[in-house]
């Protein structure tokens, strides 16, 4: 080929420059790929990502004060809690207007319960005032009438709390999730006997680590055996791992409930063999022991499967070579085989830990009070105590923890390499 020919612009048959034709072909291919992905992406964004975003928003959202008492919040701008005096007549007039509307819409009790999380007693204050506000006379001085209805209206602290929580965005729920509190004097830790969440987070982490270690301890020998046995045998034994994996979570949890209870199969067996006397049967359920045993069993396949897939790729000739060079069984395993299986340990351990840290059903059923996780508290706030903001803040913290772990998992294994069954 001559020099001039290589300088020439290459063209396709219909005369378009080749570079351009290739670029447009690539664009078409990208577009086609995106069109195939789009339905699912939109579906997941709407049904899954939006709810998660909504939850994150709820954990800081605090519009209820301004929505229920718009005029009061506005009038309070001018009031300074440092003055040491409750606000003047103008604020009370605004409060009267707001309360009349709120009582009509029955929203004042909800605001009362919201503010009660920050300062006890406000719930009853709003309830009481709500009953009296209809009888008040708007022509008379309102401050005196409110104070007559409940003298808490004369306390600076009540108003300081109201002013403090009037912004639409609040860190209060996250502080509460960390056992702290936003007070007019700044951020303070809650009294020691009311601190539960830091301890609960700590326990969730601790139990998840214990469960991960138990899974590793039990899973490693099994994966090792399965990888070493000939395929025909290991496939049959694999069923023993896959059957629990495919069995419903509730089935396995109920099985453990049956096995572990005081009148259950294991205790009956121990009493029958004479290891334990009938009077002091072991307490293995509704405590941490129950949670650890049941969750280790439930998560064990998630440890064995990644371990097995890594061990399967370790060539037996390395161990043979080590032995032929004079290593004994232990050295050959520890210095040659084990280091090659570490990626499997990493993958399995992170996977089990991610699953364990957010578990809800099993701790709820076999954990009693000492074996519950942070998830159980989230569920409690959403369905029983109805403190949705706090539930959302706890959820957001748990989500952050899981996301960090997931990035680690992605670095070790890569999401594309996740294998199932």
């Amino acid at each position: 080929m001559s020099d001039t020919a290589s300088q020439q612009v290459l063209t396709t048959q219909d005369g378009k420059p080749l570079k351009q034709a290739l670029a447009s072909a690539l664009r078409r291919e990208k577009l086609r790929a995106l069109l195939l992905i789009a339905p699912l992406l939109i579906f997941v964004l709407l049904t899954f990502a939006a709810p998660i975003a909504d939850m994150l928003f709820r954990s800081v959202e605090n519009g209820i004060v301004e929505d229920t008492l718009p005029k009061t919040v506005d009038a309070l701008q001018a009031w300074d809690p440092q003055s040491g005096q409750s606000p003047g007549e103008a604020v009370f007039a605004a409060l009267y207007d707001d309360m009349v509307v709120a009582v009509e819409n029955k929203t004042h009790t909800r605001l009362g319960s919201r503010l009660n999380y920050e300062k006890t007693g406000i719930s009853s204050l709003f309830r009481k005032t709500g009953r009296r506000v209809g009888k008040m006379d708007a022509a008379e001085p309102l401050k005196a009438q409110f104070i007559k209805a409940d003298d808490k209206w004369d306390e600076v602290e009540t108003w300081a709390t109201l002013k403090l929580f009037s912004p639409r965005i609040t860190p209060a729920y996250f502080l509460a999730a960390g056992d702290a509190q936003l007070t007019p004097d700044g951020i303070k830790m809650k009294p020691a006997d009311e601190q539960i969440y830091l301890f609960l987070f700590w326990r969730t982490l601790f139990l998840s680590v214990v469960i991960t270690l138990c899974c590793l301890l039990l899973g490693y020998p099994i994966a090792f055996l399965l990888a070493a046995l000939p395929l025909r045998t290991s496939n049959i034994l694999m069923i023993l791992v896959l059957l629990p994996f495919w069995t419903s979570l509730l089935v396995r949890t109920s099985a453990w409930k049956v096995l572990l209870q005081q009148q259950g199969v294991i205790n009956d067996f121990l009493v029958w063999t004479g290891f334990v006397s009938d009077a002091d049967r072991l307490v293995m359920i509704n405590n941490q022991t129950g949670t650890i045993i049941a969750m280790t069993h439930i998560l064990l396949p998630f440890m064995i499967l990644p371990l097995y897939s890594v061990m399967k790729t370790i060539s037996p000739s390395y161990v043979r070579a080590a032995k032929s060079l004079g290593a004994n069984d232990w050295i050959a395993f520890w210095r040659v085989y084990f280091p090659q299986s570490v990626p499997g340990i990493g993958a399995g351990a992170v996977l089990v830990f991610i699953l364990a840290i957010g578990y809800y059903i099993t701790p709820e059923l076999v954990g009693g009070t000492s074996g519950i996780f942070i998830s159980n508290r989230i569920a409690y706030h959403i369905s029983s105590s109805l403190n949705w903001g706090l539930g959302a803040a706890l959820g957001a913290l748990l989500l952050i923890a899981v996301m960090i772990l997931f990035v680690v998992y992605d670095k070790i294994v890569g999401i594309d390499n996740v294998k199932l069954g």
């Binding site: 195939l36 699912l40 975003a53 099994i222 099985a255 999401i415």
Partner: protein, 284 residues
């Protein structure tokens, strides 16, 4: 470790058998809890443990009464109906969207591939309690909370990552020159898809669908939050039953569900062997 050489020392021999014994115990730990509920579900008494009559294998110790209860009790029947109505719909949604997306994701040039993948896989990673809480908040805003479609959509979203993973896995081994070969012989893209690509990825699609089905069929956290009494599913009924210790009917249900898992497991195993055969690997 697989077999003991004839020159093994007594110590090696001891360790070999000790290791086998330990593994046996762990396998026992894995499988025993599932097997133990099968005989217990035939208990003639309302106990969660073996009665002396059962241990003596006397026929009067056994009965089908818990199964009878399951098939006649309206609560359980309602739960069964709901489960059977919810899971297949969620599976169809998850499989259709998931398969299309997996084919799209396995193209050679996909912009923002890893970001898209992270979003699509996230329902599998985010703890269920958080998904349930978020869905509860959001679906009540849009009026889906406590409705059949609310639960179906939530379950479909939870099932899609499994479909993507299994279908992508079958597509990784897919030889692109097959598509070009079909095209060079005059097949249009639609024919190529159904005649060449589809038969090869069917095992992935079916096992993805099975995963999506079992995800929905076993799911309890989301349905507890999103559903109302009208959407009570089998796992929900079991959950409340276990919390309140109502009756050993739970064991009968559990045994039936174990049977379902065995069927699913066998189907999956058959599919795995088929796809390995198709790709020219020896079935193992």
């Amino acid at each position: 470790m697989s077999s003991l050489p004839p020159y093994a020392s007594p110590l090696q021999r001891t360790w070999h058998y000790t290791f086998r014994f330990i593994c046996g115990l762990i396998f026992f730990f894995l499988i025993f809890p599932i097997l133990v509920i099968l005989p217990l579900s035939f208990n003639a008494q309302d106990f969660f443990t073996f009665t002396p009559e059962m241990l003596a294998l006397k026929p009067e110790g056994f009965s089908f009464k818990h199964y009878e209860d399951f098939f006649t009790n309206p609560d359980w029947q309602q739960a069964l109906t709901n489960s059977v109505l919810i899971a297949p719909t969620a599976t169809i949604l998850a499989t259709t969207f998931g398969t299309l997306a997996a084919i799209g994701l396995s193209q050679q040039h996909v912009p923002y591939r890893s970001a898209i993948m992270a979003i699509l896989i996230s329902p599998m990673i985010v703890p269920l309690i958080i998904s349930a809480a978020g869905m509860y908040f959001f679906y009540s805003r849009v009026g889906l909370q406590g409705t059949y479609w609310g639960v179906v959509l939530a379950h479909a979203a939870l099932g899609t990552p499994f479909v993507i993973i299994t279908v992508t896995a079958t597509l990784v081994g897919f030889d692109r020159s097959l598509v070009r070969a079909a095209a060079s012989m005059g097949a249009n893209p639609v024919t190529t898809f159904f005649k060449v690509q589809m038969p090869l990825i069917v095992p992935g699609v079916v096992s993805g669908a099975l995963f999506a089905f079992i995800t929905s069929f076993d799911e309890v956290v989301v349905v507890l939050f999103l559903g109302s009494a009208g959407q009570k599913t089998l796992p929900w009924q079991m959950f409340t039953g276990l919390r309140e210790q109502i009756s050993p009917t739970i064991l009968a249900v559990a045994s039936l569900m174990v049977a379902i898992s065995i069927v699913l497991l066998s189907v999956l195993e058959m599919l795995r062997r088929r796809s390995e055969r198709l790709r020219g690997l020896t079935p193992g």
